[in-house]
């Protein structure tokens, strides 16, 4: 067991013939992920990875041919919203968008539409998912994590790798690692993933990596305090960051005083989360 992706995931890669798409498809395939096809408009009929993976002109054609049940997106930012709409309209229930730099108003429209369709989105601007030993759906290097009972959820990309790697160095493994991405408007948030981990029999402990900005960590803390039975350790990046460039008065009104690292650490500690001083401390806190 694990959450979101496993051996049964039939993965499609949108933007499979691009530089990044192809590089990471190779990596995912080598890891053992069941990559069933790719999409690049105008290149339908071609094959990649030495004829192992077919390329289609559209997600719909790809789904018809492969029965894909998840899609990962590597297309450039300006085309990513359309790629998400396309995947949702083709009936894909789980979309992982790696692309960085998607415009925020585009994301608000995407999120609104995907919510209507009950489609789960991970990202954008995220490293994707890794269920060690079963499926790598994203860009998390496969060799930095081993199978285990720790569920990892993070807003950050490379910082997540630090944590997985630190766990591995002491022989601890992950059930699933979920990189939810750091964009202001994204698909899945901490709370969603914590709920999944709470109900996943394979997950016994949870690591949550937050950062400054927004109030998702505070909401997660409420959930942890009221509903979670599994132990959680965490880290919040940005303790020394200078206050961000301010959005006039509006930012202050919307965000209130919230969103600082100190606030988040306090909220998590009040919820019983052990908060690390630096990420390499986390394995110790989980013991």
């Amino acid at each position: 067991m694990s959450i979101l992706v496993d051996k049964n995931t039939r993965l499609l890669v949108q933007g499979i013939t691009g530089n990044e798409g192809l590089f990471h498809t190779t990596q995912m395939f080598a890891y053992g992920t069941n990559v069933v096809g790719g999409v690049t408009p105008g290149k339908g009929g071609e094959w990649v990875l030495d004829g192992k993976i077919p390329v289609f002109d559209s997600v719909k054609l790809a789904v018809d041919a492969t029965e894909a049940n998840a899609s990962i997106i590597f297309v450039p930012a300006r085309f990513a919203p359309d790629a998400m709409f396309e995947a949702a309209d083709a009936g894909i229930p789980l979309i992982i968008c790696i692309t960085e730099g998607v415009a925020v108003q585009d994301m608000m429209r995407v999120r609104s539409y995907l919510d209507q369709k009950k489609v789960r989105l991970i990202g954008p601007n995220c490293p994707g998912l890794l269920t060690p030993g079963e499926a790598k759906v994203g860009i998390i290097p496969g060799d930095i994590a081993i199978p285990g009972n720790v569920g990892v959820v993070s807003r950050s990309g490379t910082l997540t790798y630090e944590v997985l790697y630190a766990l591995k160095l002491v022989g601890m493994g992950a059930s699933t690692c979920v990189g939810i991405g750091g964009d202001p408007v994204n698909g899945t948030n901490f709370l969603d993933v914590l709920e999944m981990f709470e109900h996943d029999p394979k997950t016994e402990k949870v690591v949550m990596i937050g950062e400054i900005g927004g109030t998702d960590e505070e909401k997660a803390a409420e959930y942890i305090a009221s509903k979670m039975t599994k132990p959680v350790a965490g880290f919040i990046a940005g303790q020394t960051a200078p206050p961000g460039k301010r959005m006039g008065h509006a930012g202050a009104i919307i965000e209130g005083g919230a969103g600082t690292a100190a606030d988040k650490i306090k909220a998590l500690e009040s919820a019983g989360v052990k908060v690390a001083k630096h990420p390499e401390e986390i394995p110790t806190l989980l013991k």
Binding site: S112, T158, V185, G238, A250, A252, K277
Partner: protein
């Protein structure tokens, strides 16, 4: 990207939002000419991309063109929060009866645009937000449907705007929504929106921020960027798609990923050092980008050591190593370098740097400690 007040108001005006008569001036003489054209009392407003201009003395009222010229001379000589004033907006002065706060921005928690308004507008709105938040009305907007007229009307009623002004207020709200949507703004703020003594609604001040990620569809707005208002290093960084913020410490940092970059700074501080900058090279950076990043870090004379912390994923460590080598060859840095490479192609990267006379580290804590020591000349 932040826009100046005068730029924001020009955009407002294009969308049917009434603004005061006025124009921007780069010299005191120009300011005088504009004041002569406008006649009557005049406001001279410094155009800098920071808040608090009024409190800093950057906004003054003149009774005639001569005084306008004097005040413009003073203001154009000012520096506000470190930014030199290069332009002033010369506006007709309004006789104000009421000040309203009115803005549309993103509510990241709700994942929707939000319209905010308050009858307690003006410079103290943040105090209002903190002390009597019920005085600020918030209405979420469906991102697919847009602002509906009834919502604007409800806001007008909720802030107790006299009914005579509802129609005009609804027009302004529709205009502000169109501004927000069509410019990909992350903030479109009118503060204050005033009722003048002669019973008009006028947007007296305007502030806009545009989503940098949406610039590809706004070539016209991209031209409005005022690079005079940025640190040259930040302009240079943006050119290469790097995210750089200068800080006050002495340990330069180059990291891939914003979260890890912040964490690297946190850990430097945890072990007694002070970061000189935030620098995220982003995902998938190539050698050229890495070389640019290194040049930018080293333009800061306070930098006594540099920490490279790269955890390869979409970024490949060998590419980063190549960039470092190119930059070292070019800038011949005199400060010690601590490098930590982990993840995708880390082995190849480490091999490339073997002969480059760099301090290597295994863990992040180790890397931070070594760079703190290096910066202290140990």
């Amino acid at each position: 990207m932040k826009l100046h007040e005068y730029q924001s108001k020009l955009i407002f005006s294009k969308y049917g939002i009434p603004i005061p008569k006025g124009r921007v001036a780069a010299t005191a003489q120009e300011a005088r000419h504009i004041a002569e054209e406008l006649g009557g009392r005049i406001v001279i407003k410094s155009q800098v991309l920071v808040g608090g201009r009024g409190k800093a003395g950057g906004v003054k009222v003149a009774k005639d063109p001569q005084e306008a010229e004097q005040l413009a001379t003073q203001i154009l000589a000012m520096e506000i929060k470190g930014l030199p004033v290069r332009k002033v907006l010369v506006d007709e002065a309004a006789a104000i009866e009421t000040e309203i706060y009115f803005a549309i921005t993103n509510d990241r928690a709700a994942k929707k645009p939000v319209l905010m308004a308050s009858s307690a507008g003006g410079v103290d709105i943040e105090e209002v937000a903190a002390k009597t938040p019920e005085q600020i009305v918030k209405v979420h907007i469906d991102p697919l449907l847009g602002l509906r007229e009834y919502q604007a009307r409800d806001v007008a009623a909720s802030i107790d705007l006299p009914r005579d002004y509802w129609k005009e207020f609804i027009k302004i709200a529709a205009g502000l929504w169109n501004v927000y949507k069509e410019t990909d703004a992350i903030l479109a703020e009118i503060n204050p929106l005033v009722i003048t003594k002669d019973k008009r609604l006028v947007a007296l001040d305007g502030k806009m921020m545009i989503d940098d990620n949406a610039m590809f569809r706004h070539a016209d707005l991209a031209e409005m960027r005022d690079i005079d208002e940025e640190a040259p290093a930040e302009t240079e960084a943006r050119k290469y798609g790097l995210s750089y913020i200068k800080l006050d410490g002495n340990i330069g940092c180059m990291v891939n990923g914003a979260g890890l970059a912040m964490t690297s700074m946190d850990v430097i501080k945890l072990f007694g050092g002070e970061p000189a900058n935030f620098l995220d090279i982003g995902g998938g950076a190539g050698a050229e980008k890495v070389a640019a990043a290194m040049r930018i870090i080293l333009t800061d004379p306070h930098v006594k050591a540099v920490l490279f912390n790269i955890f390869g994923g979409i970024t490949r460590c060998d590419e980063v190593a190549r960039g470092i080598l190119v930059a070292m060859d070019e800038v011949k840095p005199k400060v010690p370098m601590v490098v930590r490479l982990v993840g995708t192609n880390a082995e190849e990267g480490r091999k490339l740097l073997e002969n480059a006379n760099m301090i290597t580290a295994e863990t992040l804590a180790d890397a931070a400690k070594k760079s703190v020591a290096a910066a202290q000349g140990k």
